[in-house]
């Protein structure tokens, strides 16, 4: 492991590609194609995308649950994607994932205290005598009474289980928490509890986090920076503050489609290709649905380019527009 230099991203990937079908000659688009992202220490990066956009595959590669076909994943500067066996297991501890379904991610026959104990024990993070105290403090941290350590997942509500999943991830003392649609399965009233918990954890303990969601409002609330995915590519990336003027036609379509209380639903265009993107390896994945489509979009996949400070867009049409003033 290399030492942790200040200013160095805690987790980053370069040109990461994941191809599930091994014959690119068939023209099957990879699930993730040449994606580069970086996460600063203490930051929450949001990843926004619809089903099929590649966001979950990206998370699986970043956590090394899936080996990328090409590209590198670096954790605190150390290359991670080439590791195997024991080294891989050791480093996996440092990137923990919280999944969407808290009903499926906890063992129904293991008490919640034992689930946390196991994590600390397996990674030899504390002497056995100190574990119960740590378990109590972890449960307390996520808002579960420490006295509940003997309870089973079936005795908890969905929100309670998701809190336990978060406590279990934190038990491993990770450098990074990856949350994949971690609140989507929860009821609205409970969702806010978990969002606030994650927000507080980041503010109070400096936890670095990647939060994947299809819900743009959730990301606006939680993330300092959001990357929008479509067709396995990051098509736009912008800092949350000041609120960005989203430019990519896909991001705009997505934002316009979200129903907001008190506003009429915007006229929908009949759906075209899914977020998986059109077939074929070349060209912009969004071109079949794009209102701004140019000839160039057919042959050349646009690269992310800066349009303003901390704002990148991958779109030929946006790049061709005259630059806007700094005021916008």
């Amino acid at each position: 492991m290399s030492s942790d230099a200040p200013g160095q991203p805690v987790l980053e990937c370069r040109d990461l590609t994941k191809q599930y079908h091994h014959r690119p000659a068939h023209g099957v688009r990879p699930a993730v194609l040449d994606v580069s992202i970086s996460l600063a220490r203490g930051e929450c990066l949001g990843i926004l995308g619809e089903s099929g956009s590649g966001k979950t595959t990206l998370v699986r590669c970043l956590s090394m649950l899936e080996r990328p076909t090409a590209g590198s994943v670096r954790l605190a500067g150390g290359e991670f994607s080439s590791l195997r066996g024991r080294e891989l297991r050791q480093i996996r501890r440092r990137v923990q994932v919280v999944f969407q379904d808290p009903y499926a991610s906890l063992n129904p026959r293991q008490s919640i205290g034992s689930a946390l104990t196991e994590v600390i024990h397996v990674h030899k993070l504390l002497p056995d005598g100190a574990i119960p105290g740590q378990v109590a403090s972890l449960l307390d941290q996520v808002g579960i009474p420490p006295g509940w350590a003997g309870r089973y997942p079936s005795e908890l509500s969905g929100g309670g289980r998701q809190r336990v999943s978060i406590a279990r991830a934190l038990a491993a003392q990770p450098d990074v928490l990856l949350a994949d649609e971690a609140v989507s399965a929860l009821d609205a009233s409970v969702q806010a509890q978990v969002l606030n918990l994650l927000r507080d954890l980041r503010e109070q303990t400096g936890l670095s986090m990647i939060f994947v969601s299809h819900n743009v409002h959730v990301l606006q609330y939680l993330a300092q920076r959001t990357a929008v995915m479509f067709g396995g590519r990051v098509v736009e990336e912008a800092a949350a503050q000041p609120p960005p003027d989203w430019l990519h036609p896909y991001t705009r379509e997505l934002l316009a489609a979200v129903p907001v209380v008190g506003q009429p639903l915007p006229q929908a265009r009949t759906a075209g290709t899914s977020a998986r993107g059109g077939l074929g390896l070349t060209g912009c994945p969004y071109r079949d649905r794009c209102p701004l489509r140019l000839d160039r979009c057919e042959q050349q996949d646009p690269e992310l380019a800066a349009v303003a400070e901390a704002h990148l867009v991958a779109c030929h049409a946006v790049a061709a527009q005259p630059a806007k003033g700094p005021a916008s």
Binding site: E50, P259, V261, L265, T270, A271
Partner: protein
């Protein structure tokens, strides 16, 4: 068929074995050609309420109450009488379109089957009608696509096919139970737009069930907010959402991240109760910041808030007054810090 008024009075749904109530005393009207939304969280009884309207309750559950469509009584019909109503007068679509479609059958044939079951035209004419229906719900190249099987469609397209099937016998009331919850937002916008168009063009009435306030707000004229098997607040959608009169509605609105949200969300503490653990008083009392002794001791009736608006809260005036008029962002915080 022209739509008629649906009237539901004192609907209860309970488990037959132990009489455990799951839906309690729900009453509502759906005016011809209007849209009515049920919004609530898991196990609030919103789906059961809708299923009870056309006697599609899961095995082991039983309903009581008075349900009328126009002059016709729907509650207590025999199975044979019901089959004349289902599909032809009132039709239903569900969250998972795959469950409604036969995987072995071409979608066009599935629609033809519905048309002919309801005494429709001969096969050739029915096939043409099926293609027209598919076109109507926004499926391009419908003549070719009618010959495809359900697995060859995307999720949004499958839901369109399920809607086409539900519309085949020209029902005048469509019940849609979370029709877009499994779909992406862009696809969802298309389905909601389609439902709205069908309602305007055919004068069809719509009952929409959703957990998403945004969806209900965009698609419904009237709404009922349900909690633990009861309606807690009911009225015109725009009024209820801009100026709620029940702490649960106000709490849910405050816990949803809104565009440009930067202030901390205010979650509702605790979680939804199991049907078995609801006491005598208000089911929401254990989670309510306004709850007082009277709330816990006896059942709370519905109070009239304004013409056409009711709230099941002893302290509704406190909620109603707190919510300042204006955008949801102004109103949303009375309770913050």
């Amino acid at each position: 068929m022209t739509a008629e008024k649906l009237t539901v009075r004192d609907l209860d749904v309970f488990v037959r074995r132990d009489a455990r109530p799951l839906v309690r005393g729900v009453s509502f009207d759906v005016e011809p050609g209007s849209s009515f939304g049920f919004v609530g969280e898991t196990s609030s009884g919103k789906s059961l309420t809708c299923r009870a309207v056309i006697s599609l309750l899961p095995a082991g559950l039983q309903a009581s109450g008075d349900i009328r469509y126009g002059s016709r009584r729907l509650s207590g019909l025999t199975l044979r009488e019901l089959s004349a109503v289902r599909g032809r007068t009132i039709s239903m679509i569900f969250q998972d379109p795959l469950a409604a479609l036969n995987p072995m059958m071409r979608v066009g044939d599935a629609i033809v089957q519905v048309l002919r079951a309801h005494g429709g035209p001969d096969r050739r004419a029915a096939t043409e009608a099926a293609v027209e229906l598919l076109e109507r719900v926004g499926i391009d190249d419908a003549a070719r696509r009618a010959r495809l099987h359900p697995h060859e469609f995307s999720g949004g397209m499958r839901q369109r096919v399920a809607i086409a099937m539900a519309l085949a016998a020209r029902p005048s009331l469509l019940i849609a139970d979370e029709p877009t919850s499994a779909l992406d937002v862009v696809v969802q916008a298309g389905i909601l737009d389609l439902l709205d168009r069908l309602r305007r063009e055919d004068g069809m009435s719509l009952i929409l069930v959703s957990h998403d306030f945004g969806v209900i707000s965009a698609a419904c004229d009237q709404l009922a907010v349900m909690y633990a098997g009861q309606v807690v607040e009911q009225g015109p959608a725009s009024q209820v959402l801009s100026k709620p009169a029940h702490p649960y509605t106000a709490g849910l609105l405050a816990s949803l991240p809104q565009p440009g949200q930067s202030r901390a969300l205010v979650p509702i503490p605790g979680s939804v109760p199991d049907p078995g653990e609801i006491g005598a008083g208000c089911a929401f009392a254990p989670r309510c910041h306004l709850a007082q002794e009277a709330c816990r001791s006896e059942p709370v009736p519905l109070f009239d808030v304004a013409p056409g608006r009711t709230s099941r809260c002893l302290r509704w005036t406190d909620v109603y007054r707190q919510e300042a008029p204006g955008g949801p962002d102004e109103g949303r915080h009375a309770v913050v810090e």
